[in-house]
Symmetry: D2
Subunit: 364 residues, 4 copies
Amino acid sequence: MAANGKVKVGIIGSQFEADIHAASFQIMPQEAEVVAVASPTPGHPEALAKRYGIGRVFGDYRQMLAETDIEMVTIAAPNDLHAQMTIDAANAGKHVVCEKPLCMTLEEADEMIDTCRRKGVLLLYAEELFFTPKYVRAKRMADEGAFGKVYLVKQSEKHFGPHAAWFWDVERSGGGVFMDMGCHGIAFCYWFLDRPAIRSVLCHMGTYVHADKTRGEDDSLCILEFANGAVGRVENSWARRGGMDDRIEVYGEGGVTYANLHMGNALPTYSEYGYGYAVEKAPTTKGWTYPVFEELWNYGFPQEMRHFACCVRGKEEPIATGEDGRVVMEAIYAGYASAGKGEKISLPFRPQGVKRPIDLWLAV
Amino acid sequence: MAANGKVKVGIIGSQFEADIHAASFQIMPQEAEVVAVASPTPGHPEALAKRYGIGRVFGDYRQMLAETDIEMVTIAAPNDLHAQMTIDAANAGKHVVCEKPLCMTLEEADEMIDTCRRKGVLLLYAEELFFTPKYVRAKRMADEGAFGKVYLVKQSEKHFGPHAAWFWDVERSGGGVFMDMGCHGIAFCYWFLDRPAIRSVLCHMGTYVHADKTRGEDDSLCILEFANGAVGRVENSWARRGGMDDRIEVYGEGGVTYANLHMGNALPTYSEYGYGYAVEKAPTTKGWTYPVFEELWNYGFPQEMRHFACCVRGKEEPIATGEDGRVVMEAIYAGYASAGKGEKISLPFRPQGVKRPIDLWLAV
Amino acid sequence: MAANGKVKVGIIGSQFEADIHAASFQIMPQEAEVVAVASPTPGHPEALAKRYGIGRVFGDYRQMLAETDIEMVTIAAPNDLHAQMTIDAANAGKHVVCEKPLCMTLEEADEMIDTCRRKGVLLLYAEELFFTPKYVRAKRMADEGAFGKVYLVKQSEKHFGPHAAWFWDVERSGGGVFMDMGCHGIAFCYWFLDRPAIRSVLCHMGTYVHADKTRGEDDSLCILEFANGAVGRVENSWARRGGMDDRIEVYGEGGVTYANLHMGNALPTYSEYGYGYAVEKAPTTKGWTYPVFEELWNYGFPQEMRHFACCVRGKEEPIATGEDGRVVMEAIYAGYASAGKGEKISLPFRPQGVKRPIDLWLAV
Amino acid sequence: MAANGKVKVGIIGSQFEADIHAASFQIMPQEAEVVAVASPTPGHPEALAKRYGIGRVFGDYRQMLAETDIEMVTIAAPNDLHAQMTIDAANAGKHVVCEKPLCMTLEEADEMIDTCRRKGVLLLYAEELFFTPKYVRAKRMADEGAFGKVYLVKQSEKHFGPHAAWFWDVERSGGGVFMDMGCHGIAFCYWFLDRPAIRSVLCHMGTYVHADKTRGEDDSLCILEFANGAVGRVENSWARRGGMDDRIEVYGEGGVTYANLHMGNALPTYSEYGYGYAVEKAPTTKGWTYPVFEELWNYGFPQEMRHFACCVRGKEEPIATGEDGRVVMEAIYAGYASAGKGEKISLPFRPQGVKRPIDLWLAV
């Protein structure tokens, strides 16, 4: 493989997240280029390749891993496939960017991390909130002392349901909205507070609107106690109408800040006729809408992918790793256990023989 | 007493809340007039009387209760005095408006309700959020079906600490911010959802900023499960900088609404020189501020007091009663117990021999 | 007539504005009661009377003026009828509340003022912005010195067209949106700055969207230079989609404030199903909407009508009079002349023989 | 010069705008690199060079123009120097990026354009609003038909005064805030509407707050009539307290949109202690502030500079040229003339022998 030049990337997956990966590398093309895409869904990888001018298409990601020039793969596949794909990629000597959540079980997380370490490849965890410009700005203010000691960090992400059918199937997803989006909020609070250990998790959830579609929860609230005495609150929903909603609040003894990626960044717009696109999961472009601008950039996806490529070239130290993903996984397990038992769960929490996080809640 | 004409009112108390009562009757003067004020703090009741043109001043509220023309008293005294004052007033044949929270113990709540019933006087519970115009508007939309089935109601009230010293003393207050302001949010969710029974309470709290001043919690989050399947989330803080913050969010399967009484209603203002007053607990009027307008009216205090006077005259049915206050008290007890144990508490919850709610948390 | 008790009021008109008058007296009923309504439109006054429990209905307002107990009439009729109705009412010894704009010509304005003066009745000018709570708040901050010397005041009112057909007919209305709503903004700036003389008017307007319906302008911008060196900017539209928009901006050398009566006061709401009513002229209640609360109170209509009744009883000095209305009329004439000529018009401005303001623009 | 590789850039200037240029090339480094800076102010160019790692420093820009590898220069010097610098650069065979406004006179504009054309170099006009992501989004919605026919575009930019002393001196700047920032708004409306000819300009201005510092106007409003029947309104101030304010409004017969680069994009923040930086020209970071994030990117400066470098390489067609700058200059001349005469000025407008735009206003 090349020691310099653009990092050659292969994408595993061909739908929503894979498209974001391809678009992100295109928006910030300095450090990397996507040269291949692999997905078993007939027609999908071809379409993605055409959309982004990607040269090579594979039905089986293992074939793609045999391409010697590819240095980094990104995994944008259902959660239950993350571990195997990561391990295969590491064994093929590729650096791995794995979508959130990291995997299905803590055992998988350990194996992913260990394999990558042994093989000398990076395991990079695709948590874009570490790169979201507006949130990064909040963290910089906190680091500059704007709020004094921060005692509470909140993150919330809500919409009316996921973009692919497998999310509704808890066998494949491992959980509902708390697994799908709570992982963002847990990672965010952990990162914002400079990675203190999580001491306990208290969680409440339910299936309020989509019981006809899923056994997974569609609304959740999770409270994290950190070793530094601060608290995180993570609020998620698949049952919030009106399009995407992603926001944070930061409370310190000396101040407070609010950052809203959607209504707080948008162009309030009224249209009789509609227009191309408003925002992720918006139901319409007619009437009043809140279109955002440069959506991927404002989430931080291109910055994230650029960072990962820089890490491969040794220009930057990884700031989102498999270890972060494992911390999040442990909190997710603790969260489902907490919601199931109706009590606070102390960490470390290492349930044995549980196949997917949501089982700790559904079992009750 | 008169069967018609304006209801003659006596106020017990002379500080922050008593001033709101007096001002509220003045803003909507059709149905009632304040004729007396009682408070043992030297100079205070006289000052209040002068400010609002109140004719009679008493150092001891029991003397005021002897005034035969007074039909209704409002209690704006520390929490630990509510029960005795209510009972005394009822025994004197006066209708009672009692500030929130209703009292210190569930036994007190029972006795207050029973005494008033036996004496044939009304026990009116001063929860102004039932009258807050913006929140009433949200409820009307919900009642009109705007959101379909409502599954989640949130209410939040935050500032940087109470306006009187006794709040910091848990002996007198019975608890910290959850007792002081969580009572609003619990009542609000209960009312908004049309008073379904509360099935369980899960609560988390801590003292993050004001440990030098109080043993009470200064930040709390409370999750209520209702018999109709909906959830309430109540978030409170005495540790939020920048002035008062009071807001709600309502989520239904068919929609969502947000109402913010402060930044969402204010005149964003920059001033080099400052001006008279911005908003409750605002630290300054210089720089950027969020002044509100017609503050009491926008909270609903005048509408509330007018309603209570109408109830005394039999023109309206009470919509905020001692029974509501007791429901809230039970949830508060359950909340402190939940925070203490780190687990969900099922209702009915009837702890024996507990002197004040916060003991269930502090004891742990 | 009675020297005390509630002022007995007769309303002339039965549509949009008449309804607001009736509702306003009902919201603040202390000082006045509506006892009669007069309108020639078959069925309309009866419907209004039924809606508000008004006892007497007349087809001809002159018959209503013969009712001896009526002390004050409010005129909510097309602009071209204001003068005659006012004169008739004054001759009948009734105090007059006249809707904006005051009339059609400056000669009419003089005669209205003179007649009322000679007959010893009040001529009250129904400019509710002098009573709008949020705007009153801005003025109070200005008066408290928050902004230092105020050099610029802006007021804007926009929607997608008037509520009654006669507005489109410039013979009856005298002008388009500048006449209909610019009169609010001119009055507002004049009042906010404490009534300095208007030195000049510079105005720009056009018919951009509704040329199929009207010869009147549907969008306008008016710049007023005042004797104290400050400037007013008044922006109006009948071509703005999405519902009502009413806002002000105040700029001083030491600060700035913004007040928005609609999106800045509303409950941002998403509804799949819709609900009763969002806000004046909102096209729908589905999707995202901005419902306001206590709409009339937040405009200041009830406060205005209460004030007028207090003036009749001598309890308050009129703060919105025929003289204010005449100042506004002169600025409106100057504004149309300015737009017609494309140049700034100095005041005093007393065009001779012009039947309606818009003629000075249309003539060009 | 090189036909490929990164475009080598020299910056003329060393202060506010020069810093923005250097930072912008650094943020988007794919297409260009800054290799030299020239400024006669002792110490300044050295400091800039150090800040951004720029290799070569010159006291005289003419020396820098002698460097054969430099392909493009950017001019960030006072307005009265733009023309000579552009001509010198063109004669040296360098492509020119000239800051706004283009120059001082229409004769200069012609000569700049002609010289660059004859020398075969690009004259690129640094109007970043053509690249502002949020505004580009609004234009895309308009182009997609969201608003139907657009009849009114507004742009406003306000703060409390410029960042360098020469702006106050109308000999050097050519005008006050209308020249300094009105040029943005004029260009914006022209671009947004797809460059229809400007038919007329009507302008109003005054010196309300800073008369002790400048003869230039510190507040202005300009109305542009375009050949396609639409109107532009451009509002500017050097007398608005509280930090930068930049916003647009777009009105069409079928809809409306609002985009606010500052309060509408910011993180509402309260800080007791302050922090590094809030936003351009913010007076403080304590109390309530509105910090923005990725400020240069959100204005579009890096995107603009990247585009200019792409134009030099022939990869993109220039979308902001000297011709645009000349159109703006003509409107500025017409605007000052309009404000001076108090009347609408028709275009084409070609005043003879006027040294600077503001003379047409000051002369009156």
